[in-house]
């Protein structure tokens, strides 16, 4: 029976490792990929116009909201970001229904609600595009720390708009929780969103 002792020790050690691994994964704090913001105030509410009527942030309490400021003329940076969000939504599967992506136009003069709708829904039919008056957009952008500035383009492009290209994530309780900087991969977004959906 002497051979049983080392076997028992081995089994015990393996068990300890397994339980430790499970516990570490279960209880360690989640490390977000995005930049974490601990805001003490709820995210500023706003009401802007979509092709299907007015849209307010508070309409989506209980969902995780992704706010993105961009414009439809933008051929490179905006579609790159929207494509990554589209991929993140795919990665989330059924959980994606708990996420609302909203694109706010920083080019209200050229982006009509209809135009925005067609633009964002090309990427995902669940996406919403909103716009408003120059003043309304400026107010919302300021509240969210979004910089945007028109500058002269060419004859063909007309003016172009520099804009903060990060995504602001509002949690289910309505607090700004995360910033996804430009270039955040879909996998990272999906992991963070999944955590926010289940917590």
């Amino acid at each position: 029976m002497a051979y049983k002792k080392p076997v028992l020790v081995l089994v015990g050690a393996l068990l300890l490792v397994a339980v430790g691994w499970w516990g570490w994964n279960r209880f360690r704090p989640y490390a977000f990929h995005g930049t974490v913001l601990q805001s003490t105030e709820p995210a500023p509410d706003f009401t802007l116009m979509s092709a299907d009527g007015p849209v307010s942030l508070r309409d989506f309490r209980g969902k995780v909201v992704m706010l993105y400021f961009g414009y439809t003329f933008c051929p490179d940076v905006c579609p790159t970001t929207l494509f990554e969000v589209q991929r993140a939504m795919e990665l989330l599967g059924d959980d994606a229904d708990q996420v609302q992506f909203i694109m706010v136009s920083v080019d209200p003069a050229r982006d009509t609600p209809e135009r925005l709708k067609e633009y964002v829904q090309y990427f995902d039919p669940r996406f919403i595009g909103v716009t408003g008056s120059e003043d309304e957009i400026a107010e919302v952008a300021t509240q969210y720390g979004i910089y945007y500035q028109k500058h002269e383009g060419t004859v063909a492009t007309g003016y172009l708009v520099d804009h903060t290209a990060s995504i602001t994530v509002v949690d289910k309780k309505g607090y700004v929780k995360l910033i996804f900087p430009y270039g955040t991969p879909a996998e990272d977004m999906a992991a963070d969103l999944k955590y926010l959906i289940s917590h």
Binding site: Y147, G153, L160
Partner: protein, 150 residues
């Protein structure tokens, strides 16, 4: 046999001379992996991306492009502004220099060929004919496939 060796030597010399000529011929531009991003109809502008390789011994520059699929084609670049925002502007000096022996990548979030006033649907699988204009190498017709980013 002697004659054969002489012929062989002559042929080798010709080959070497030709190779030297080719090398001395200035810039040699190769276009690789040209693709365009799918975009909704309502987006007036589209973007093309590709890798430009100059295997020659002289610099060249992409100075423009044209396509029946676009009202206007311009060379643009996306960049990070001093404020930390993303901006887009026509390329400096109106051209993209491809130094001898080097490779320049036109890629998302950087240099790109912008197709303004799209005349065709940029749906995946569409092939767009584009003529690249180089400062020294002249015109180079290429075909660009519209596909999802990799």
């Amino acid at each position: 046999m002697k004659r054969f060796i002489r012929l062989l030597a002559l042929m080798s010399a010709v080959v070497v001379a030709l190779a030297a000529c080719q090398k001395a011929a200035g810039p040699q531009i190769q276009v690789e992996d040209a693709w365009g991003r799918p975009s909704p109809k309502v987006a007036t502008a589209g973007a093309f991306y590709m890798t430009l390789r100059n295997t020659g011994n002289e610099d060249d520059a992409l100075i423009g492009a044209s396509s029946d699929a676009c009202g206007t084609v311009e060379l643009h670049e996306s960049f990070k502004t001093a404020e930390g925002a993303m901006g887009m502007r026509p390329v400096e000096g109106g051209k993209i220099v491809i130094p001898a022996g080097q490779t320049v990548e036109l890629k998302m979030g950087g240099l790109h060929i912008m197709c303004i006033d799209k005349k065709v649907d940029f749906t995946p699988g569409t092939k767009v004919k584009l003529v690249l204009h180089f400062e020294k190498s002249g015109d180079m017709p290429i075909e660009v496939e519209i596909r999802q980013p990799k």
